[in-house]
Amino acid sequence: MAWLPEPVERLLNEALVGELTVVGRHGEPITHPLIPLYDGEHVLMHSSTLFSRKLEHIKRNPHVAVALSDPVALRGLTDRATIIGTARIIEDDPHDQWERLILDLWRKKEPVIDAFLKMRVALPLFFERAVIDITPERCLYWAGGDTSQAPEITSAPREAAA
């Protein structure tokens, strides 16, 4: 069920980079710049098995935060948001499951991905990927991007967060 405020959905739909924060092995925060995708309900990120430590961290602790903060990556939008949620890793078949789940969304944001996919033979492990499926639970939104001001906070309706 979609519940994120419309301005945050707009940020998600525009963002070419967001910052995913996970909890590391020793309980420390670790942040990874990744491209966020949005299917109208979940935030979808993905990771190559080459850079899969974040996936291991999420399996230990599925709580994550996604910051949308860079006006350049947001294609000129200056608003900012942080989405708090729970992630699950979809990794039954890292070879092509991600293509079925997110390639269309990825392609819409980055049409160049098709050209890279054609060169899969050059870097095969890069395209062995897992999907990070994030169910948003709470959202902090800063209109205009000034985080020295308190954010507007929205929480998921009970059934969506369940």
Binding site: L16, T21, E28, T31, S52, H95, E110, F116, S148
Partner: protein, 452 residues
């Protein structure tokens, strides 16, 4: 994780803002973007305070700050990718300001570690992740490529140009003398191609066993092996199966040619070629590990291939074929030689004492120029002495490319990925020279046919 250095703070200062993150009391992460300034004197970062109960940067726990320049270029990917994250604690001043004191740092800057190298260094992580995933799922999960791409990658098929040049030239030299059997020519091409591919695959096996491929974190499309074992695209058992199948195919075609032609000379040439191919990386000789790899390749992809093809057609050896094989031999050895330049660190670590490992930078570059020029001098001398047809002088048109490669080596010697274009040009030097020598022979053959 490495401790923080002054350089880290200098780099951090280049980012326009930071994303600050922490883990709350419920083990859930939180992040917020904020402005900042670096206080280099105190090795600290002044953070602009953030507002709101949930978004206020805490002072009682580990905090992570991230500066990121993963800047998308729509339709083209990304440029100048880099990010840096620091861990430490934040303290509040009396005036309410926040000071972050970092203790650990981690980051990536593609100008220092190119993306391909970063990826290669991460291969063990991928293997470990997939092994763990296989254990979790109770089935083997491995990376895959489609069969066509896997065959291309495993056999390094595009390198067949190194075989095509001497084989076709050997056939052309024979045809100029009036000996040409198209079916034998076809069998020769097939047998030589199988032999070449089997050598490629067996070299991969021995380079993986020796650790040379794993030690090389700067592979390029022209160097560093197929890496199918390293990436776990194939198992060792499967790769040995491919190598054996190709060797058997090559040996079968070779023996068939010996049987058809009845030439013991061909058998000897075939055995020499087989020996060179196998001992190139295989113990105990391991020619390439002793600085003899370039010589082995020159012999194998020069005289052995060219004279072998010639003997299939004529049943005997000739000075003309021998001389024609020399420029081809030198230039194919130069392909290997230049391709070994980006591999030299990994090769040295694995005890592979190639010429670029043994020699100084200046000597390596000078030897490239001298050897390549010698290849063209041999053609000129061959024509001057009447051994080679005049039209083979066409190959001198390629000489400027040698100069281009020489310049590229001087500029990019220590930059593996920038060297890729230079390696590509160097492969063209061999292929184009071989092609023009071949055209020279075709011109001579046509002239002979017209005059007869």
């Amino acid at each position: 994780m490495p401790p923080v250095e002054s350089r880290d703070l200098e780099k951090l200062a280049e980012y326009p803002f930071l994303v600050v993150s922490w883990v709350d009391d419920h083990d859930s992460p939180m992040s917020v973007a904020t402005d900042f300034s670096v206080d280099a004197t105190h090795r600290a970062v002044r953070l602009r305070t953030t507002a709101g109960a949930e978004a206020a940067i805490p002072t009682d726990r580990t905090v992570n700050v991230l500066g990121s320049h993963i800047r998308p270029t729509p339709g083209q990917g990304y440029d100048e990718r880099r990010y840096l994250q620091l861990w430490g604690t934040a303290t509040a001043g009396e005036d309410g300001s926040l000071t972050f004191t970092p203790t650990r740092a981690w980051g990536w800057d593609e100008t220092e570690v190119p993306f391909f190298e970063y990826s290669e260094r991460s291969v063990p992580q991928s293997r470990s992740y997939l092994a763990q995933l296989s254990a979790e799922k109770g089935r083997t999960i491995r990376p895959r490529l489609s069969l066509g791409w896997l065959l291309l990658r495993t056999t390094r098929l595009p390198f067949l140009s190194a075989t095509a040049v001497p084989v076709l030239l050997g056939i052309a030299v024979a045809a100029r003398g009036g000996a040409f059997d198209p079916w034998l020519a076809l069998l020769t091409v097939v047998g030589a191609a199988l032999a070449h591919l089997s050598i490629n695959v067996s070299n991969d096996i021995f380079d993986t066993l020796s650790g040379a491929d794993a030690a090389n974190v700067n592979p390029t499309p022209f160097s560093g092996g197929s890496r199918v074992l390293l990436y776990d695209l194939l198992t060792m058992r499967q790769l040995i199966g491919v190598a054996v199948a190709l060797f058997l195919g090559a040996a079968g075609v070779g023996l068939l040619l010996v049987w058809i032609t009845g030439s013991m000379t061909l058998l000897v040439i075939g055995l020499v070629g087989f020996g060179l191919g196998l001992t190139y990386t295989a113990p105990p000789l391991k020619l390439v590990y002793r600085g003899l790899g370039e010589m082995a390749v020159a012999l194998g992809f020069g005289p052995v291939m060219l004279l072998g093809s010639y003997v299939v057609q004529t049943g005997s050896l000739s000075w003309e074929a021998a001389v024609a094989s020399v420029p081809v031999a030198i230039l194919v050895a130069m392909i290997l030689y230049v391709n070994e330049i980006p591999d030299r660190v990994g090769d040295a670590a694995a005890g592979k004492r190639t010429l670029p490992v043994r020699m100084r930078r200046e000597s390596v570059i000078t030897l490239y120029l001298a050897a390549s020029v010698l290849a063209f001098v041999v053609v000129v001398v061959g024509v001057a002495t009447g051994l080679l047809p005049v039209a083979t002088l066409l190959c001198l048109l390629v000489a400027p490319l040698v100069w281009q490669v020489y310049g590229g080596l001087q500029r990019f010697y220590a930059q593996p990925y920038a060297l890729m274009a230079v390696m590509g040009t160097n492969i063209k030097v061999h292929a184009y020279t071989g092609g023009l020598l071949l055209i020279g022979y075709v011109v001579a053959i046509v002239a002979r046919l017209l005059s007869s």
